[in-house]
């Protein structure tokens, strides 16, 4: 068993069978990660002592006869999720020194299942961005080309798994923040149905869209993680109280009888020729596996981006009001409390966060609410209805996860060009659907030297995680794209 290269399934099996000790895994990972991460910058904080402590506990529990679904599996946690005793920064100066006094439900469940926490990973500040470049606290590089971004906002979590610094990681997805970086980093990134995974302890960006999900190098590992972290949580009123069907043992090998919807409005014509060829091949592979391709229409999908950039900033303008310097986090003193607020928030938030707070405040203002926020909510309903109609004709919708492979640093200086990275993922998020990105090939981008991965986005109806993961697994097993690429060799220090 190789604790760095192997899957979570095989690590947990070995630890549960007492063929390997969690303590050994921790001791193998700690120096490895600290060496690799000097180059990748996936982590904002490493937690070796916490990892050792959890390893000891896992070994004790296994010795006592317990079988743990994630026994000894090294995991990374996006730094917008609270973990007691760790700094939890959301990639922001305003929380740079905030130490969480409690643990997020999803993290708690992961650790209770035997996972070993390696550290907290980098992200775009407050999960706002698609490249990780909006982090105020560090630079994360793409493990497949260090001159390129890992995607975002969960860039650190994606880079950690793609770069073999973690077997699994948790990310959060609001408009594509798991799926796009998964595509960029040659891994599986899975966003469950909104409400399936508790948000308790996840620092909110846009509450009605935020959803925690796993990154893994295989669909099966992602399914295993989802089975652990999913399910109702009484601490999150939006968490759905309906039974979770285990997914990891229900994966399939072929796609006979599956109708795959190809969205008419998501035509591949706009894409670079090589990228387009890659997606055409992916659709053809689905067909080869027995699926039937059907064209479906999402006439309102084109309003997805505009809708999202009203709903999400509106919610964030309110969610981020609590960062005021009064109770925790950064405080910059002023002559009175009003000036203290202004100075604290001016110094604590980066430009993208400020932009979204401004947009959101405007959209909710008296006299503009109906024209912006309310209209966006109506558009959101229409988009969800479009998907529901499309799913009457198909079981799964396939599309690119992003329109390009990972781009270079500073390539998207205009915010709208960055927003467009989430063109395919945002409508799915607005409809709350379960969705994932699975590796589907690679292209050498213009100006690049190495082939860079692409991801196929699959989305299914609400609460059909089992079907979604089954289809993705069949595709992954048949194509094995992820295995065809290797991350950049990191030289020994």
């Amino acid at each position: 068993m190789d604790p760095i290269k192997d899957t979570a399934v095989s690590i947990a099996r070995a630890v549960n069978a007492k063929e390997a000790a969690a303590a050994e895994i921790a001791e193998a990972l700690i120096p490895h990660v600290s060496r690799v991460d000097a180059q990748l910058g996936a982590y904002l904080q490493l937690t070796p002592e916490l990892m050792r402590e959890h390893a000891r506990r896992v070994d004790e529990r296994v010795r006592a006869g317990e079988t743990l679904p994630l026994a000894g599996v090294p995991v990374a946690i996006k730094d917008n999720m609270c973990l007691t005793g760790t700094r939890t920064t959301a990639g922001s100066k305003i929380l740079e020194h905030f130490v969480a006094p409690y643990t997020a439900t999803a993290v708690q469940r992961l650790l209770a299942a035997g996972a070993l926490p390696i550290g907290k990973t980098n992200l775009d500040e407050f999960a706002m961005g698609s490249s990780c470049e909006n982090s105020a606290l560090g630079v994360t590089r793409n493990p497949y080309d260090l001159d390129r971004v890992p995607g975002g906002s969960s860039g650190g979590s994606a880079a950690a798994v793609g770069g073999f610094e973690a077997t699994l990681s948790l990310g959060s997805d609001t408009g594509g923040s798991i799926r796009e970086p998964a595509a960029f980093c040659n891994i599986v990134g899975f966003k469950p149905t909104y409400g399936r995974v508790s948000r308790y302890g996840l620092i909110a960006f846009a509450s009605s869209l935020d959803q925690i999900g796993p990154f893994a190098r295989t669909v099966e590992d992602a399914a295993l993680t989802y089975d652990v972290i999913g399910g109702h949580d009484p601490l999150d009123a939006t968490s759905v109280d309906r039974p979770l069907e285990p997914t990891a043992h229900a994966l399939r090998e072929d796609l006979r009888g599956v109708r795959v919807g190809i969205v008419k409005e998501f035509g591949l014509g706009q894409l670079d020729a090589n990228v387009r060829a890659c997606y055409e091949a992916a659709y053809a592979d689905l067909e080869k596996l027995g699926a039937e391709l059907v064209e479906v229409e999402l006439p309102t999908a084109e309003y997805g981006l505009a809708t999202y950039y009203l709903v999400a900033p509106a919610e964030c303008s309110s969610n981020l009001a609590r960062f005021d310097g009064v109770r925790y986090g950064l405080r910059v003193d002023g002559a009175d409390v009003g000036e203290m607020y202004e100075k604290t928030r001016a110094a604590g938030f980066g430009p993208e966060v400020k932009r979204r707070i401004l947009i959101g405040t405007y959209a909710l203002s008296s006299g503009y609410y109906d024209a912006y926020y309310l209209k966006a909510q109506k558009a959101r309903t229409k988009i969800a209805e479009d998907f529901a109609r499309a799913f009457a004709r198909c079981d799964v919708i396939a599309s690119p996860a992003a329109s390009t492979p990972a781009f270079g640093f500073n390539a998207k200086s205009d915010p709208v060009s960055m927003y467009l990275m989430d063109y395919y993922t945002i409508p799915v998020s607005l409809a709350g659907l379960p969705s994932l990105s699975v590796p589907c090939g690679a292209v050498v981008p213009e100006g690049g030297t190495r082939p860079m991965p692409l991801g196929l986005q699959l989305a299914t109806p609400l609460f059909t995680e089992r079907s979604l993961l089954g289809i993705a697994h069949a595709y992954e097993r048949a194509t094995r794209h992820a295995e065809k690429l290797s991350p950049v060799e990191i030289a020994a220090a």
Binding site: L95, D236, A237, T238, S318, A321, R327, L364, S366, Y373
Partner: protein, 499 residues
């Protein structure tokens, strides 16, 4: 226009008659629940600062609210007690503004879909007049923390820093919004008193003014009596007792009259009540009003209340204090003051109701309950309802008195024995031989003896000193060991004296 300054105008009874005040009350009432509105922290007054807090009510990053079901039940009870409609769908909204004692910098409240809509508060005034005020709505929200300013007098002015205690942050709060149906400060107080009584009786709030669990704002405007259009209103804040509500509204009505009488116009603004100065002062004008940017709270799901739930709550609603009051006054003929006294002591009222049920005589029963029985209870520091006198025993006593079986002096004695020992009034009367003597012959004999023993007094009476009758009656009562029917004794005395 007149050049008189407003402060030079004296608000005379004539001016008060010339104008009519229009008042709408909004009040915040802390709900009585085990835990806070959106977290498991205890909902209890006081304590060391910041000891009743958790990630949720401190708004730590990532913490989420979960609604308190008991608070929602309280709201439904409160609404139904006033005949409000409980809509099947309701939701929570965020009210956004920055304030240091509000941890999230938004308050979870209800904007356009409150838990209760409509309803009427029926109330009575000290003079027995009755009135009613329609409710617009009652909605559910959360309380803020409390700021203390580190200055000599605890005020913000001159303070160099402020301390915040979040123990109260997140305590469930209902906001009752009344229609502008109120016309005087007295009515406003009566309205609030009825709200408070009703909430206490329902168990939805303790309504402790001194702990700030009822806080009230008043929208006040004036218009010429007989006018139909409303005047421009001012919103009065910071009234911390019923007394200050009365004073603040009276002061504001007078201020507006002075403004209008001096040729000015009332402007729409928020005014704070200054208890020490006895006046209101401008705090913020309409132009400076907040834009709260209300929107549905995405952390919470809509609240659905089924018709079955509403019916089940309705079935458990007690008789309201107002209904009690009306019954006491209209059916039993009890005066306003005593009826109010009863209504305000729920255990006593319940005890009283049982006694009246048994005696069938409200007036006679209330005389005992609020008279000698309450006196005995006070003297021994025990509540009437917890004493040895049963409502049934009192009913017997009432019957014995009204049928003239015993006189009032004996009744007092019986009650005292009942209070000390319990038991039956009849048994005590028999045991102590307290039955009133109404036998004409027996009393006549005593009267003759008394007259024979007091020739000088008899002479005085016959000489016109009629007030000696009291002495003679007393003598007859004494000779009968208190058992003689006093009116019969007097009648016989007069007869014998040839009056």
């Amino acid at each position: 226009m007149s050049t008189i300054a407003p402060e030079d105008i004296t608000v005379t009874p004539e001016l008060l008659e010339k104008y009519e005040a229009v008042i709408g009350i909004e009040c915040h009432v802390e709900l009585k629940t085990e835990s806070k509105m959106f977290c498991g922290c205890p909902n209890a007054f006081g304590g060391e600062p910041n000891t009743k807090v958790c990630p949720v009510c401190l708004a730590l990053p990532g913490a989420l609210p979960v609604p308190n079901a008991a608070a929602i039940d309280h709201m439904i009870r409160a609404g139904l007690a006033f005949g409000a409609t409980i809509p099947p769908h309701s939701k929570f909204d965020r009210k956004n503004y920055f304030y240091p004692d509000m941890p999230k910098n938004y308050q979870i409240s209800q904007y356009d879909m409150p838990l209760t809509q409509g309803g009427v508060v029926r109330y009575w005034l000290e003079d027995g007049t009755r009135g009613e005020c329609r409710l617009t709505r009652i909605h559910l929200e959360e309380d803020t923390g409390k700021s203390t300013h580190a200055s000599a007098d605890g005020r913000l002015a001159g303070a160099t820093s402020s301390l915040v205690d979040f123990n109260r942050a997140g305590v469930p709060l209902m906001e009752c919004v009344g229609e502008p149906d109120i016309r005087s400060a007295d009515e406003a107080v009566a309205f609030l008193e009825t709200l408070a009584r009703t909430f206490r009786q329902l168990g939805v709030s303790d309504v402790k003014m001194e702990e700030g669990s009822l806080r009230c704002d008043a929208n006040v405007s004036i218009r010429l009596r007989g006018a139909t259009e409303y005047g421009t209103k001012a919103e009065i804040k910071n009234m911390n007792s019923f007394r200050s509500v009365r004073r603040a509204i009276e002061s504001e009505i007078a201020r507006q009259i002075r403004v209008v009488e001096s040729g000015g116009r009332v402007i729409q603004e928020t005014r704070g009540w200054d208890e020490a100065a006895g006046t209101t002062h401008s705090q913020r004008s309409k132009e400076q009003a907040h834009d709260y940017r209300y929107f549905p709270d995405p952390d919470l799901v809509p609240i659905d209340v089924t018709a079955e739930t509403v019916a089940a709550v309705k079935a458990t609603l007690p008789v309201t204090p107002y209904e009690h009051y009306v019954r006491y006054v209209d059916e039993y003929g009890i005066d306003t003051k005593r009826a109010t006294q009863l209504v305000d002591d729920a255990p006593l009222a319940a005890w009283f109701d049982r006694a009246v049920e048994a005696s069938g005589n409200g007036q006679a029963t209330v005389a005992f309950v609020l008279g000698d029985l309450s006196r005995l209870a006070n003297e021994s520091g025990t509540h009437v309802a917890e004493g040895k006198v049963t409502p049934e025993a009192l009913a017997e006593l009432v019957a014995l008195t009204t049928s003239n079986a015993i006189n009032s002096k004996a009744a007092k004695q019986v009650l005292e024995t009942l209070w000390n020992e319990g038991g039956s009034a009849k048994a005590i009367v028999e045991r102590e031989g307290l039955a009133q003597v109404s036998d004409r012959g027996a009393i006549e004999k005593i009267v003759d003896e008394v007259l024979a023993a007091n020739p000088k007094v008899v002479a005085d009476y016959q000489a016109g000193k009629l007030n000696v009758m009291g002495f003679l009656t007393g003598a007859v009562m004494k000779a009968s060991r208190g058992k003689a029917n006093p009116s019969l004794a007097q009648e016989l005395l007069k007869e014998k004296l040839g009056a």
